[in-house]
Symmetry: C2
Subunit: 258 residues, 2 copies
């Protein structure tokens, strides 16, 4: 019998989040699971790491599953670094992050703690996938995600994810029967139009809440936004070499050394 | 006479950082300067934004320059969002971030608050450049950077930075006469080999400090690491569409819908 894969599981909503508990339950059917997740929610942390503060790690037991679990005082990227280098002391066969409560499609990948954990694993040479459900609420239902999460993870373990990239999976918030399938996509060109809600605090000082609307300017039918709007699960390969190679030639025509 | 450009200046080391003060002094020679910078250091914040907390903004006067300045309680990305949408109410001609105390070359771009601010500006449709000096200390000398920062910014204003990307500029910590010139580069394939320094606190609880060594496995002479090691300033065009387009074809051969 082939050895069961070693799976590192993390997220950014914190170790008690229902999305993480669902992901753990699926991974327990695939391999041996070690969880290292933040002890509190870390959404919109981007790729933050903790360099000027200490990190605490605590072995915990949250449910009756066979997994080993640690809660960590740091960010999702910290969890992966600690998981790989300190707890496992070797590279797991795969790292999965999520299932995030809320979308990480399109430009949201760059603000996402869930995807930051997956990218950190990729940088460490560990194949990685981030999963997100398009429902921000704590009470979101993750049941319909399970078979798809399992299929994608098993495919990744079988086919291998090449060095230099990780997968970003977003799942529409629908009953399983209404999900049309899984589509490989590119990141849609979309952005947030910010609105700041300006208020005055009881001491008379002004402050702001960040709000805004997501605007998709990209009409392509090969994008994650199109797939999700049409009831498909989107899978986008995401890279962490950020070089805009196509612009290097043009940039070399600038007069930088005159 | 052509209208002076409107320049938004920010950083991640905080509004009093010597690197920011140098950047402001250079920008004052080019255009009209508005500064929105964090009220405290925000290094290694990645692309964090503040969504679950309030943001405070305060008009300040730090030196005798003609610039307008605001300190902000948020992250570098928050500063840009507030700067563009709330303070300016329109897109500036360019946003410059830095000069960071310490390198943001290679994979460090992904952890960098300095580059996160530049990327956020890019996402908002504002041409942007992040500048970093390869010296982490608060007392770093930024004088040698000045003429290069001016040249690169003026070129960017003249030539235009295309939508979808921003520039990542790293400057070796050398006297001006020893800097050989400015090189257009790609991001080197390098990473951090983490070491966690494990300690016990006075209450008997274990904790960790993140430490590590930067390892460059990339022998190319077209990389930012090569340029910096050979006394050149590196300029890397950086994009925020993270799609690994080259892998989409392969990914479509996986059995995701069987």
């Amino acid at each position: 019998m082939k050895k069961r894969p070693l799976i590192l599981v993390t997220n950014d909503d914190g170790i008690t989040a229902p999305g993480l508990r669902t992901l753990i339950s699926v991974m327990n059917t695939i391999g041996d699971v070690v969880v290292v997740a933040p002890d509190s929610p870390q959404s919109a942390m981007g790729h933050a790491i903790t360099i000027n503060s200490t990190l605490f790690l605590e072995k915990v037991k949250i449910d009756d599953g066979p997994q080993t679990e640690y809660s960590c005082s740091g960010t999702p990227a910290d969890c992966v670094k600690l998981g790989v280098n300190e707890i496992l002391g070797k590279k797991p066969d795969i790292c999965v992050s999520g299932i995030n409560h809320g979308s990480n499609s399109s430009i949201n990948v760059i603000y996402s703690g869930t995807m930051s954990a997956a990218l950190e694993a990729g940088i460490e040479g560990v194949p990685a996938i981030g999963f997100s459900l398009l429902n921000y609420s704590w009470g979101a239902k993750f049941e319909a995600c399970k078979s798809f999460v399992k299929t994608i993870t098993e495919n990744a373990l079988k086919e291998g994810i090449p060095k230099g990239l990780v997968l970003n999976v977003n799942i529409p918030d629908l009953p399983e029967k209404d999900i049309k399938g899984i589509k490989v996509c590119r990141q849609a060109r979309a952005s947030w139009k910010e609105e700041f809600d300006k208020r005055t605090n009881p001491m008379g000082r002004e402050y702001y809440w960040l709000t805004g609307a997501f605007v998709n300017e990209d009409h392509g039918q090969d994008t994650d936004e199109w797939a999700l709007a049409n009831n498909y699960i989107s899978v986008v390969p995401v890279q962490y070499d950020l070089t805009a190679h196509h612009f290097i030639q043009d940039l070399n025509t600038w007069n930088l050394n005159d």
